[in-house]
């Protein structure tokens, strides 16, 4: 079973994503901020990481840059309410940039896509 790390500070959304992605057959581990996310990445293996950008403390862009320093090969999806970060080339450390929407279809598609290869 593929293991996904979800980095998201909004508790309702965490619950939603956890349930929906578990239904798709993934094992979900949740971190509510960048610090704990990094600890988890250091401690274990993940097949994919989904992260928000705006979080208390370090933001998602710093997080993915730090992850690149550890393991370059983990696919990363940025999942954020903000379009504006697309202008920041640092986001290229991720493999996909999804704007949060009430339908999870795009996110599920992208996960399937990135876990395929």
């Amino acid at each position: 079973m593929k293991k996904i790390l979800l980095v998201e500070d909004d508790k309702s959304l965490c619950l939603l994503y956890e349930e929906e992605l578990a239904k798709e057959g993934y094992e979900i581990v949740v971190a509510h901020d960048a610090e704990s996310a990094l600890e988890k990445v250091n401690a274990g293996h993940f097949d994919l990481i989904i992260t928000d950008i705006r979080m208390p403390g370090k933001d998602g862009i710093e997080l993915i840059s730090s992850i690149m320093g550890l393991r370059k090969d983990i696919p990363i999806i940025i999942n954020t309410a903000y379009q504006s970060y697309k202008g920041d080339f640092m986001t290229w450390a991720a493999d996909a940039y999804i704007t949060k929407s009430s339908s999870m279809d795009e996110l599920k598609e992208k996960i399937k896509d990135l876990l395929k290869d």
Binding site: S65, S66, G69, K86, G87, F89, M90, E106
Partner: protein, 347 residues
């Protein structure tokens, strides 16, 4: 007494403060922190991280290297996360995820060198000339499509200029419409051409500047670097080809080399005299010929392509009033004086 100057082409008004009592130190910016906070370890543009960029559309690379692998000297990739289309992108049909962009516009990043720290001002002339060639070739290819009406080529260096990464790069954006400010320039140039003695107003201006010399920073066989009469910002520079042409894409190989030299001069002086400020370097060229020939017939007689170099200084800055007036506290003649000082460059 402040002086009001008008840019005759764009019609912009600038209020220039003519007090000359500025000392060199007044212009040097405070120490600026490098844009990508040095503790960030990852750079998607660096050699070795090609997998993190979209597949390249063009590259100048060593003979035995493959696309999307190290071994390149200059690399062009499309924007990985374009913001051009609202809503989700159409379902991908091929493996090249980013080709849907072509329907709407183009946004490409030109990674100037594999070396993260080697700035454009420090590149060998030959390398810089190759970058200019790349600009030209991309423009020609992109302008094959009629709906790519205008190609903007620009470079942001430094956080203040809007650069999100410090790895040297330029960008090329093709839009389905001609931007307003370019239209203003074209209309302005055309009107002056029509009302004056039927000569390109830019050519006239270049001749005058060469004679007066007080705003001349540098010149070589093919290019002139000067501080415009109605400069909006302190140390603003413009680089003009001596050979009249509306289209950058028509530049000759020889001119390309001379342009590289001129750009290098301009950037190096900026870096040395003003302690490495952030800047925007922007190409001003005529729109796609397929469009210009219909919308502005004869544009090649009155429009003259050029570069604008806008340094962003923190200590002594200009600003724009709500009315569209600019206030520039440093007269362009004073700027030119500082920038005239020759720098010994390693070519």
């Amino acid at each position: 007494m402040p002086e009001l100057r008008k840019d005759i082409v764009t019609g912009r008004w600038v209020i220039i403060s003519t007090e000359r009592s500025k000392r060199p130190d007044d212009f040097r910016p405070q120490q600026v922190i490098n844009p990508d906070k040095e503790n960030l370890v990852f750079c998607p543009f660096c050699s070795g991280n090609e997998a993190k960029t979209p597949p390249e559309v063009f590259a100048i690379r060593e003979n035995d290297s493959s696309p999307d692998q190290p071994g390149w000297k200059i690399r062009v990739v499309p924007n990985k996360f374009p913001a051009l289309q609202p809503g989700p992108p159409p379902p991908k049909k091929t493996k090249r995820l980013y080709q849907w962009m072509e329907g709407v516009g183009v946004h490409e990043v030109i990674i100037e060198t594999p070396d993260h720290k080697q700035e454009m001002s420090d590149l060998p002339e030959e390398h810089l000339a190759q970058i200019l060639q790349v600009f030209r070739l991309r423009t020609i290819e992109i302008e094959e499509h009629f709906h790519h009406q205008y190609v903007q080529i620009f470079k942001n260096k430094g956080k203040e200029a809007g650069a999100s990464l410090s790895h040297p790069h330029s960008q090329l954006i093709a839009t389905p419409i001609v931007p307003k400010r370019i239209k203003e320039e074209i209309y302005g140039a055309e009107r002056l051409f029509r009302n004056q003695i039927r000569e390109c107003v830019f050519c006239q201006m270049i001749k005058e500047e060469q004679v007066s010399g007080e705003r001349l920073v540098f010149q070589n066989d093919q290019f002139v670097v000067l501080t415009p009469y109605a400069s909006r910002f302190p140390f603003e520079m413009a680089i003009f080809p001596l050979n009249h042409s509306a289209y950058f894409r028509k530049i000759s190989d020889q001119e390309t080399f001379q342009l590289a030299k001129a750009i290098k001069q301009a950037l190096s002086r900026l870096k040395t005299q003003l302690s490495d400020p952030s800047y925007n370097l922007v190409f001003h060229q005529a729109p796609n010929p397929k469009v210009s020939e219909k919308a502005w017939p004869g544009i090649d007689r009155y429009y003259h392509w050029h570069l604008e170099l806008l340094p962003i200084l923190t200590k002594v800055a200009g600003f724009e009033l709500g009315t569209g007036y600019y206030i520039n506290p440093v007269p362009p003649e004073v700027s030119a004086e500082y920038l005239k000082k020759e720098i010994q460059l390693k070519s």
